[in-house]
């Protein structure tokens, strides 16, 4: 059974149908965290976040406090919030921007205060039309309420927040590509080094880029203290986290659970959470952290939901998305579709990713659709090896950004775990599940 005693840190208002309105927000403790933060020194606000050891919730899991401290030495120019959630089967930021936009904005103001920034941009995925409307309305309400603009709540702190729509490009979730899009260009990731926009970011100035969920945790952390947050979870994975559970489960959805205290099995089978697998089927594999992550077999179901725990077993908790594949699922088809996604979304700058993704997709397509050859299976592994040499985890990189080394994960996992299924497709001359 799942351990569900932990407080709801970011999803506490979701039960209310009007959770996105200012009145509901104010009735449920809204802007108290900000009011408290404004009575503290900016450095003290930052050190609370440091103490919480809040790991970034975007996918890389970099500690938010450390990201900020890289900047505290020099004045920061901009705060950019990454709401371009596009990793397949990840829908937790979608939930946060539609259901609790004020909580996000309060978090943004707290972060901006800690960093002493006067302009923050919230970059939202263009497809989140309702989310864009709600966040814009919440920004308007916040200005009127005195939580944004000049001299916030009578303090000396002033901040503008601008809501910026994306336009449909997975790659813009990569922080330097997002900055390019914010500058009005094609979303091409920038060449590294510098590795962090902290050095050269928006308009060439020091910039912090943080994820929507990361920001949404800040009001609670300031209200309750970093130590209270760090007391939840375990090891480096502190606090709670939003998990987006999808695929062959009875009750897909976004669930906030305490890190480490719960396992994949808890999340998938608990009646209050995933509610088990459709038709009580057996689990064939799970994709633990977005489709960029290597797959796990059912033997990993009792692994705790923690960043290091998952990393030690050769995958990642990534974007907090978990996809369940059951024994009615064709794994070849699943892996082919993921490859097709990467092939469509490769920005085209780097040869291994641009050419490799399309080549892998075509080979996968012919195996799934009956035109495959036995030697295609090893060809696929060779192509994967050319994109991420050695096929290790974390992967070696031959490209500007991590989209490239994300391509082999699904194909490599599927061949390693279910080679027989590939062979059966080739020998039958069609999909085994048709």
């Amino acid at each position: 059974m799942a351990t569900l005693a932990a407080p709801k840190i970011v999803s506490s208002r979701a039960e209310f149908p009007d959770s996105h309105t200012l009145s509901r927000f104010l009735d449920t403790g809204g802007y108290l965290g900000l009011r408290k933060a404004l009575t503290m020194f900016p450095e003290a606000v930052a050190s609370e976040v440091d103490q919480a050891s809040l790991l970034g919730r975007g996918g890389a899991g970099f500690p938010a406090g450390r990201k900020w401290s890289m900047l505290r030495k020099a004045p920061v120019s901009y705060l950019v919030v990454n709401g371009d959630e596009s990793e397949p089967a990840t829908f937790k930021d979608h939930f946060l921007v539609e259901r609790d936009p004020h909580q996000l904005i309060e978090g943004v103001i707290i972060a901006a205060y800690a960093l002493q920034v006067t302009t923050a941009y919230i970059f939202l995925r263009g497809e989140f039309a309702l989310g864009l409307e709600r966040v814009q309305q919440a920004v308007n309400d916040a200005y009127e309420h005195g939580a944004l603009g000049r001299k916030i709540f009578g303090s000396d702190f002033s901040l503008d927040v601008v809501v910026h729509p994306g336009a449909g490009a997975y790659i813009c979730g990569e922080e330097t590509a997002l900055i390019e899009a914010l500058e009005g260009k094609r979303g091409f990731p920038r060449i590294k080094p510098p590795f962090f926009p902290a050095v050269t970011g928006l308009y060439g100035e020091p910039t912090v880029v943080n994820n929507v969920e990361t920001m949404s945790n800040l009001p609670w952390i300031i209200n309750n203290g970093g130590a209270a947050f760090a007391a939840l979870g375990g090891g480096r994975s502190t606090g709670t986290r939003l998990f987006a559970l999808a695929g062959r489960v009875n009750n897909p959805g976004v669930f906030e659970v305490e890190m480490v205290k719960n396992t994949f099995r808890d999340l998938i089978y608990d009646p209050a959470l995933g509610g088990g697998v459709i038709n009580d089927n057996k689990i064939k594999a799970i994709i633990p952290g977005g489709v960029s992550a290597p797959w796990f077999g059912p033997d990993m179901l009792d692994l705790p939901l923690g960043q290091d725990e998952v990393a030690e077993k050769g995958s990642m908790l990534g974007s907090g998305s978990i996809v369940v594949l059951d024994d009615a699922t064709c794994v070849v088809r699943a892996a082919w579709r993921i490859t097709k996604f990467f092939s469509r979304e490769s920005c085209g700058q780097c040869t291994p990713c641009r050419e490799g993704s399309g080549w892998i997709e075509r080979a996968m397509y012919r195996i799934e659709h009956g035109g495959g050859r036995l030697e295609d299976i090893d060809l696929l592994l060779d192509l994967c090896d050319n994109i991420a040499p050695g096929l290790t985890w974390p992967p070696q990189q031959t490209t500007i950004c991590v989209l490239g080394p994300s391509i082999p994960s699904s194909v490599h996992s599927a061949i390693q775990m279910f080679r027989d299924d590939f062979v059966a497709h080739v020998e039958l001359g069609r999909c085994t599940h048709d």
Binding site: A89, Y143, L159, D160, G247, P252, A334
Partner: protein, 205 residues
């Protein structure tokens, strides 16, 4: 003479004023151009280029990178159906095939009556109601072929027009007021406050 309608033009000027560099308004302005014309037309491109101080070629090149911008005319309703991993496992491919028949157009094309354009999309982050369907930027919680046909009938009858937006939504909720904290002003204010603190510190010594 502006190609943009008066309300779109006003919104575009508001957006432009939010950024230190005009080019940053590129994506929102392209959304507005599409909102007005249904797609990013040549006239829309010219207008965006003039406002962002770039060239039409540059605007077109940028727009082509982003999946949401259509550079060809589309139907009155753009129907997007996701077939990515979570939707694949919930019958997204089957729903897409069904949609081709009920809408009378194949993926990537527009029906003869000009009502529908059908698209196969990548993950729309609606995996809890897979397979995920969008009509003109609005999520529709439709998962079965029958429910999809009911939706199509409603769209044809025009009964959903108050719910399903036009080809964009930026005009629906406008920002009230521009920037309130101009950076230069705030910076000089902060510098003054800092000096005062320094002066007080020096006095107490």
């Amino acid at each position: 003479m502006s190609h943009f309608r008066i309300d779109i033009r006003q919104r575009a000027e508001e957006v432009l004023a939010l950024y230190p560099r005009p080019r940053s308004a590129m994506l929102p302005l392209l959304h507005l151009a599409q909102e007005q014309d249904g797609y990013v037309s040549d006239a829309g491109i010219a207008e965006v280029a003039a406002m962002t101080l770039t060239t039409p070629a540059d605007v077109r090149g940028t727009a082509l990178f982003y999946d949401m911008f259509h550079l060809e005319p589309v139907g009155q309703y753009v129907v997007g159906i996701c077939t990515n991993i979570a939707c694949l496992l919930a019958g997204g491919d089957e729903l897409l095939g069904h949609a081709e028949t009920s809408l009378g157009c194949s993926v990537g094309s527009t029906s003869n009556d000009g009502l529908f354009t059908l698209e196969e999309t990548e993950c729309l982050a609606g995996c809890d109601f897979a397979p995920c369907v969008q009509v003109n930027h609005r999520y529709v919680r439709t998962t079965t072929p029958d429910a999809f046909d009911a939706l199509v009938a409603q769209l044809r009858a025009g009964t959903l027009d108050h719910e399903v937006p036009n080809h964009g939504t930026l005009i629906r909720v406008r920002r009230t007021g521009g920037l309130h904290a101009p950076r230069a002003e705030v910076a000089s204010e902060r510098a003054a406050a800092h000096e005062q603190r320094e002066a007080r510190a020096a006095e107490t010594k």
